[in-house]
């Protein structure tokens, strides 16, 4: 889940907040996910120093509530690279069995 959310932040760039992250993941993976699970994971990533957050302006569509934007930090990018590399190495040699092209 952490990896998927970090990848969503990479894709969304400056437009990343709870609901855009949820939409991005649902549209790309087809997985139904709760906004609570998104925030719980984002805050865990923030505690680890992988992401940072800041509050935007309140909008009428949100009932006057502000958005909380999330940004990927260099340590998060590095963690994502390490994790992707580990998966790539573990997948090595499994291509025929898993049908990976």
């Amino acid at each position: 889940m952490e990896q998927i959310i970090l990848l969503a932040l990479v894709r969304l760039k400056s437009k990343a907040y709870g609901m855009t992250v949820l939409r991005e993941i649902e549209q790309r993976t087809g997985r139904s996910i709760s906004i609570g699970a998104i925030y719980a994971t984002l805050e865990r990533l923030e505690t680890k120093g992988y992401v940072s957050s800041f509050t935007g302006d309140p909008t009428p569509a949100r009932g006057g509530r502000a958005k909380r934007f999330f940004r990927l930090e260099p340590s998060g990018e590095e963690a994502l690279r390490v994790s992707h590399d580990a998966i790539r190495k573990m997948m090595h040699g499994l291509k025929p069995q898993w049908g990976i092209t």
Partner: protein
Amino acid sequence: MGDNVTPDSPPRLANWLLRCFLPAMDREEIMGDLAEEFSLRTQSSDSCWSWYWGQTLRSIPPIAWKAARQGCWIRTFSVGLGVYIAAGLLESAADAALSGVVNPESSLRPVVSLIIGLATMVAGGYVAARLRPGAETVMSVIVFCAVTALLAAQVGDAPLWYGLAFLIAGPLSSLAGGALFLWNKR
């Protein structure tokens, strides 16, 4: 804030649950995100209410678990328990003072005692919500558990109807006190 009743408003009960169970640090952004998506969905589909309810019920457990791990719920529980004990002491003091005014054998006594008990629960819920959001919900659960335990153990000489009335109205009074605080705040 954000709870104007229009046909396109999110379900009030769901919002109330979110207010009760989400810690203050997450509440505004999560409710804002849900309100934003709800208003988009009202324009394109008629399943927005079920979507909102689904998101509400599925969002509370991970956030509540995270809050519990961070110790937020320990503080909320402590406030709920502390206010419950204080309300109980106040009720006992008022009950003792009542003994000098109303004859303990009188049939009026349990009725007056129930009114005092429920009034202290409303006041307790109000204070709990003021001290910490969500503490009035914790307090109502404590009231329910305490009255259930007292009924099961058959402690005291109060009539059964008194215990049953307090079992239902006690937790509701505490929640009503919390709602009163939120209403006042708005």
